[in-house]
């Protein structure tokens, strides 16, 4: 009986390890290949430690192609969006959870319902609206429209609902304004949810593709995902520099993955809750 169980467990382990290779190898391969010479990249069997590592690929990426500029744009857009979204959504979540005003539940329901709108339907109208606002080819176009999403509002509200109401009552009796209650009491308590949502907002914005693709054609404002896709389309055969560019684009997300993993997983679990 005992040996039977362990045989089964060995099978489970073998399958798990095989899958682990399938999931992790491509990522490690990308990182290591970015240091390889072009003729070593296709060598078989592939090695994860480059035989004679070179920094030439990165040197090319960073000097001959505006990758640093793309990276700056992406990080600037993703961080600004994240900061503004966190403030707005925290405010709205606070109001929907704590304050009483007529129409509260109707407005909230409508906002939640917008979560079901697929992005594709909004793509063309958003393009038209943003152009009409005169924001085409500006950072505004990249930051403002994607910022408004019910997901963050909903999660902030859920979080604030778990905070005891006595806090608000006590603060009101002390003569605190509502703005003060939000900024002095609720916002500092929000640290966990801010970490979760901040991580997700940043990652999603940084990795976004179709919106920046259609709304920006000024090369100075290109984000890294679009810059990278263009680069591949143009230089389809130069795999050494393509892989370096790809690795370069992945660096921020890899850093986030390592440092904010718990928050990321937490955020995904929370999306499941609304189901």
């Amino acid at each position: 009986m005992k040996s039977n169980i362990s045989m089964k467990y060995i099978m489970v382990c073998l399958i798990s390890i095989l899958l682990l290779i399938v999931f992790v190898f491509p990522i490690l391969w990308m990182l290591s290949s970015s240091f390889k010479h072009s003729d070593d990249i296709f060598k078989f069997p592939p090695s994860l430690i480059p035989a004679n590592a070179t920094l030439e690929n990165f040197k090319y990426i960073l000097t001959s192609v505006p990758f640093p500029r793309y990276m700056f744009n992406s990080i600037f857009v993703a961080s600004t969006l994240t900061a503004v979204a966190l403030i707005f959504h925290s405010m709205a979540g606070f109001s929907f959870a704590i304050l009483r005003f007529p129409g509260r539940s109707i407005i909230f329901s409508v906002i939640i319902a917008t979560m079901m709108i697929p992005f594709t339907v909004r793509l063309i109208p958003l393009f038209i609206i943003v152009r009409a606002l005169g924001w085409a080819n500006t950072y505004f176009a990249l930051i403002i429209p994607p910022l408004f999403h019910a997901y963050g509002i909903f999660l902030f509200r859920q979080f604030y609902l778990t905070i005891p109401k006595d806090l608000k009552e006590a603060a009101i009796i002390d003569g605190c304004s509502f703005f003060k209650i939000w900024i002095k009491i609720y916002l500092p308590l929000s640290r966990p949810i801010i970490a979760v949502l901040g991580t997700i907002f940043f990652l999603v914005t940084y990795n976004d593709f179709i919106w920046p693709l259609v709304i920006i054609n000024n090369p100075d404002l290109k984000v890294i995902q679009v810059g990278l896709a263009d680069f591949v389309a143009k230089r389809g055969t130069n795999w050494d520099i393509i892989i370096a560019g790809t690795a370069f684009a992945a660096i921020p997300t890899i850093i986030i993955f390592f440092f904010m993993q718990r928050q990321l997983v937490q955020g995904i679990k929370m999306t499941g809750l609304k189901g």
Binding site: L19, I117, I124, I243
Partner: protein
Amino acid sequence: MKHSYFSRLATEKNREKIAGYAFILPDTVGIFIFMIVPIVLAFIVSLTKWTGLSEPQTVGFRNYLTLFNDWIWWHSIKITLLFVIIFVPIMIFGSLGLALLVNSHVKLLKDIFRISFFAPYMLSMIVTSIIWKFFYAPLNGLINQTLRALHLPTFQWLGSKDIALLCILFVYLWWYIGYYMILFIAGLNDIPKMYYDAAAVDGAGKWAQFVQITLPLLKPTMLFVMVVLTIESFQVFDIVYVMTRGGPGRATYVNVFYIYERAFITLKFGYASAMAFILFIIISLTSIFQFKYFHSGGDY
């Protein structure tokens, strides 16, 4: 005295009302302009002929009529449906399988496998697509080189009309499966242990426990995953853009890629909006159907 207490309370209530509206103002205005107006606008634009530059011309429902006679549109819908129908079930059961696999390990191993299976999700679709495009390369890509070394037949992969869509589907799966695995792990961990203990006392085997406890109790998670996945896979774009551009010979020409090309390459905003609006209707009807059909009974 009493009077002033009530009037203070009244102004307090008023203050709260004003604050309530003020706090939701930025998000409400934003959601209105960038979420609700676009839906209406999508429909209005779909009734026009418009290059996006000149004055839009109203053409009524002509775009929709043209659409139904456009074989490329039908083809793109067919490809998209094919993608959704194959992808969603594989993903649901694949991610559930991964979740069960991870959960069968002890603490440290559990964490290692969970993190590894989830790792691709941190990459962007663009990065993911580029890596796999390289692996799929027919001549010296890693997959064909491996097959050759094992003396197995090689394939054209993304260059083959028959399997290009499946190749894309696999990459999408690779990238996304860890995300849903995490949802399922959370769902599994929410099932009270005592149910299993009670079943074990009654002599139920592992399989019986899975069918009679795990699956029914995971139903809400499965429904959620199914609805979200369907919405997402109807809109697959990035990966097609980088890997095949709809090719070879429109074998991977999904609907959103057609919408993108019509709107932003050939500047047919009206026509593309009609397509987008139809897609919206298809997605909404599918979601409603899924909720209605799969939500009946079985809740705990």
